[in-house]
Amino acid sequence: MSKVLLVIQREYLARVKKKSFLIATLLTPLIFPAIMGVFVWIATEEKENQALRIIEVVDESGLFFMESSEQYAFSSSTDNLEAAKALVKSGERYGLLYLPNLDLTAPKGIQYYGLENPSTSLVSYLESSLKRKIEDQRLFAKGIDPAVLKEIRTEVVLQSLTLGESGEETINDATVNYALGFLSGILIYLFIFIYGNQIMQGVIEEKSTRIVEILVSSLKPFQLMMGKIVGIGAVGLTQFLIWVLLIGTFSTVVMGVLGMQMPQQQAMELANPELMATAPDPGELGAILQVLSGIDFVTLVIAFICYFLGGYLLYGALFAAVGAAVDAPSDAQQFMFPITIPLLIAYMGLFVFVLQDPTSSVSFWLSIFPLTSPIAMMGRISFGVPFWELALSLSLLVGGFLGTTWLAAKIYRIGILMHGTKPSYALIWKWIRSSQ
């Protein structure tokens, strides 16, 4: 047993000590916010720096008055379509909106001209404002006063709540749940692939350098394999925990700077209305925080760790078996198929079924079947999953990884000492069946 610990220790330290581990661990949590930040920054910069675009309106009906916005201004300097086109060509106008004499019940023939293709945002902006104008015109024609109309217009925002068994109500938000399911599902997928590959590379290294021949005389092949899998898994877990800590600290700091409260504080205040009364209106960001406070992060993190470990152990054993069967990484491709396919199915299933409808029967089976459950179930967790489903899925996952480990150990034990033979599926099947 102590020798397995030595192997675990070596595998762990050899990776954690690497500079690349430190860099990846510290940078990854920053990369996603950074990329989003860059996009937001570019978008705002563009908005600010963009010169006001002037669009010529040729309105033959004389019914429309287009209101200018931050980005677009409308002018009507001419009634002649050809003259207006010339303005666009000469560059004096960004575009041209042509409104023929319209039949308001069936508006047809509205055209836009420009030197370049209009952006979708421009098209939808024009369409929606024209739609409203036409509707207003038609309502007015039916005798409805525009002032009354304005009064009638209402904005509706739906707040969705989940009823808990003990009567508590939590605010939730489909978008936030989607985002959390999406993120944790992808994270598990990436973790399994990245760390599974590390197992495979490590096994191939030991095999091709014959280190394994020195090692297996002192410990059993199974101990060596498990030591490697557990050691590398511990690296993954370390990385994940550092991320949780980093993100936690980071968001506390950011919220502190922005003068906002952490979800826990919010929850406390919700429970204590007197405090709530003195607190300022949370606003839109506050609303998001309220939603976040409704999500059980503890369950999410624990589930993530369980499914990461289960999925990693299940696939890690298979990766180890592939590494043991081949002589070089380039030969591994043909045996990656049985590993890649279920992972891809889980990945596609996450987007096509699970996140769309977390309670559908396809989503259910995907999140129960051990080869796909680590990814599929993570997509469902934030939407809420009954306890018995979690228990069933996790116990099948445990059974699954015991199964793959047993299978992998049989392949590993023989494959690790075979050199020069090109293995095939038939040969590997023989290894599995051989008793010795």
Binding site: K18, I211, I214, V216, S217, S218, L219
Partner: protein
């Protein structure tokens, strides 16, 4: 020290070892010879318990092989390998610990071996930054660090320059002095003649030769003598093979052809003065080739 009895091993229909008997006495350097594919590596792997024999027994110091006996074996595989990204120090400590040394013992021994092999300055370098010879030294240390009583070396000199080969050779001899039994598998006959006390030769899964170097050479002497004659008194028979002839001296290589040595000597004396008469022993290299050829005809 090491006693092997009726050992058999096949891979599918391929026989790798057939009824191998071998006795390696304690404290000797035992050469294991044979062409590629003869079964040497299989035999070594069985002794190391990397693979299991089909039948037969292997006993080490009177005990059957077990995980306990493994601690007393040191094995240097033919194709060398170390963790490229690990430092010399971490690597040697790891292998020592795996072989059962305590952390304290491991530190002491690694330190003293690094000094002995003249690579103490390299302890914090990664293996990938070392030259091939330097890495070989590290591997040699990893093999002997737990002071094994049986040392199995597969082609220990490959990859070393003459200076470092000499260093390793001296370390091997020093280990022998300390009582270590050494099983040396090699194709290099000059190192066999220099180092080994005892050899066994495998070919096509069978043992075809076994004995001390002197015994084997004596057994296989091809009954040749080299003779130097001076002051010839009559013409030599045309069937005699003349190697060189100058200033009245003739170098001859003659076959005994069933005659006694003394009979041949008497015969020679009739032709002139016998300055030199030497029995010609085959080199291990010749023996090796001759034996492999003779046994591959079956």
């Amino acid at each position: 020290m090491l006693v092997i009895n009726q050992l058999n091993k096949s891979y599918g229909s391929h026989k790798a070892l057939t009824e191998i008997d071998l006795q390696v006495p304690a404290g000797v350097i035992f050469g294991l010879l044979g062409p590629n594919g003869a079964g040497k590596t299989t035999l070594i792997r069985i002794i190391n318990q990397i693979i299991q024999q089909d039948s037969g027994t292997v006993e080490l110091a009177g005990k059957p092989l077990s995980l306990e006996t493994i601690r007393t074996i040191g094995y240097l595989p033919e194709e060398r390998g170390l963790y490229k990204k690990m430092t010399v120090w971490d690597q040697l400590i790891y292998f020592s610990r795996i072989k059962g040394l305590t952390a304290k013992e491991a530190k002491q021994r690694v330190t003293s071996w690094l000094e002995k092999m003249d690579i103490a300055n390299w302890r914090n370098k990664k293996i990938e930054d070392l030259s091939k010879g330097m890495a070989q030294k590290v591997q040699f240390i990893a093999t002997v660090i737990h002071e094994p009583s049986l040392l199995i070396l597969d082609e220990p000199f490959s990859g070393f320059d003459p200076v470092n080969a000499e260093l390793i050779k001296n370390e091997i001899l020093a280990l022998k002095e300390m009582g270590t039994t050494i099983l040396l598998s090699t194709h290099r006959m000059e190192s066999v003649e220099l180092l080994c006390d005892h050899v066994a030769m495998l070919n096509q899964s069978r043992k075809i030769l076994d004995g001390t170097i002197r015994d084997i050479k004596a057994r296989f002497r091809p009954e040749l003598v080299q003779v130097t004659l001076a002051g010839l008194t009559q013409a030599l028979p045309s069937s005699w093979q003349v190697l060189a002839q100058e200033e009245g001296r003739v170098e001859l290589q003659l076959s005994l052809q069933g005659k006694g040595v003394n009979a041949l000597l008497t015969e020679l004396m009739a032709y002139g003065e016998v300055l030199r008469f030497q029995e010609l022993l085959p080199s291990m290299e010749e023996l090796f080739i001759q034996q492999v050829k003779a046994n591959s005809h079956e």
